[in-house]
């Protein structure tokens, strides 16, 4: 347990000093998104990697958080800090209610149902023009501020977003190594055996679905206030697939893996500017390759590969 805490501290320090290495500039802006995507990937990972329940509709919860935040602050002038827990709570409640019927389904059927849910939410964003501005989006969302400091520069947003992201990381790490986390993994491995020793699988799945939606909605709020403009295109099926790709690449059932996957997929397009339009080919290819050749994700495959390499070298040294 001490080791876990130590790892988290190192991670935190790295995150805190990262801006010094990048000296502001436009990459800072990208690192803000790495933070938001890390939150989202962790949210999906709690559900998929730990509890073994897939969702292809998480972009919908992300979008609901963003739109609730955007509409209540930009259109109705409410205080963003008040709106944030409200939005997250409402989305969590919605997920809790949908969760009961939807999580009765398993495997492929669950995937299809969550996909359908995500698309319905997306259609609502597009069609309820009076509230959301429709396809052309919603603008004029205020930046978050504390007292007289507004989080309107990239560096400030970075620290704001990462404060939340680190919080979510720690929260999830704790959860994963606890009584409830074990129950989640037990459901993943054998739902029936978990139920027989008294784990209320149905209720727990719904709760983790709701928790996952709350974290996604929170990420949505932060997204809305740092972008100050949102449109439905960011919350469609493609983004749900992108989140899935992050989780699978990083490693199912690993919190740091989610960070790795989010960082990789957020930074990749920036380095491959030319490849911008081809990102879906890359995601598709990555998903297939990972599932076929590295089902443990990068967090597990890379250390394994390094270990093998070291052993090879060690062997050569002995000979």
């Amino acid at each position: 347990m001490k080791k876990e805490l130590f790892k988290f501290l190192i991670f935190t320090v790295l995150i805190l000093v990262a801006p010094l290495a990048f000296k502001g500039g436009y990459l800072m802006n990208v690192l803000v998104f790495v933070g938001i995507n890390t939150m989202l990937a962790i949210a999906l990972n709690l559900l998929l990697g730990y509890c073994g329940q897939i969702s292809l509709g998480h972009a919908g919860f992300f979008g609901l958080g963003a739109y609730l935040s955007g509409i209540l602050t930009a259109t109705h002038g409410l205080n963003p800090w008040l709106v944030m827990p409200l939005a997250a709570g409402l989305v969590g409640l919605l997920a809790y209610l949908i969760g009961f019927p939807i999580l009765k389904l398993k495997g492929h059927y669950l995937a299809m149902a969550t996909l359908g849910m995500g698309i319905i939410i997306y259609i609502v964003f597009n069609e309820s023009v009076d509230y959301t501005g429709g396809p052309s989006g919603l603008s004029g969302i205020p930046a978050l501020s504390i007292g007289s400091t507004s989080f309107d520069s990239d560096v400030k947003s970075y620290y704001l977003v990462w404060a939340f992201t680190l919080g979510v990381c720690l929260f999830s790490l704790n959860l994963a190594n606890s009584r409830v986390g074990r129950a989640l993994r037990a459901i993943h491995d054998s739902e029936i055996a978990a139920r027989v020793v008294g784990v209320n699988a149905r209720e727990l799945k719904v709760r983790i679905f709701a928790l996952s939606a709350v974290i996604s909605a929170l990420a949505g709020c932060l997204y809305a206030h740092t972008m100050t403009f949102i449109s439905p295109a960011s919350f469609g099926f493609n983004f749900s697939v992108e989140l899935l790709t992050m989780v699978v690449i990083g490693g199912l059932g690993s919190i740091y893996g989610s960070f790795l996957g989010a960082a990789l997929l957020t930074l990749l397009p920036e380095f491959l500017r030319a490849a911008h339009d081809y990102d879906i080919i890359i995601y598709g290819g990555l998903l297939m390759v990972m599932v076929m050749f590295m089902p443990g994700g990068l967090v597990r495959s890379v250390p394994d590969a390094v270990r093998k390499l070291v052993r090879l070298k060690g062997g050569a040294g002995n000979a």
């Binding site: 986390g181 029936i192 055996a193 027989v196 059932g253």
Partner: protein, 250 residues
Amino acid sequence: MLEVSGITQIFGGVTALKDVSFSIAKESITGVIGPNGAGKTTLFNIISGIYTQTSGTVVLEGRNISGLPPERLAPLGMVRTFQNIELFSSMTVLENVMVGMHTKSSSGLLACSLKMPWTFKEEARIRDNAMRWLEFAEISDLAGTVAGNLPFGKGRMLEIARALAADPKIILMDEPAAGLNSQETLGLADVIKKIRDMGITVVLVEHDMELVMDICDRIVVLNLGSKLAEGTPREIQENGDVVAAYLGDE
């Protein structure tokens, strides 16, 4: 302790169980035997709440538990093991048994995630207890092994340890000796007797007749979904119908 009365189970057109009744005394070992397809696993699935029977009732310590799902039965003291072992294969042996203590602990989702002070104490208690059950099942040296990598016999023992961690009053075991070598079967017989001596009622489905006759206090025989006979091991051995059913089948 446990009373099963008039259990009938129909799947589509197939009658898997027909009007099966028997009762089980506290702190006894009861064997359920019968040819393949007799309905033994189905009976366990009904008693343990996995299936809901077409008709009939199951009463545990005076309480009607018909139709209750397994997660409600565990707190009442009923657990089981499976014919095809069901382990949490990606978790360590110790963690498997720690999950067994789910109903004997209470920290909720938020308390766990926020590491509230009391969760540390509970976590330590869960770990210590789980370790003790591993020692009981003589697999404590494997505590850190991933359950999916266990040899089959150890897996069977782990499943029993996990069930015991739930502090049951009654444990149902579906073919616990299947796939074990003779050495392991002898060990299993000892473990089952020890479990009974701790005051836990044991019901087991088993094909290994030597084992059944050796450890069971009573035996219930199923054939083609109906109860064929019931009695002490000796009575069953002398029962012509039972012999006929087995000879006719094998």
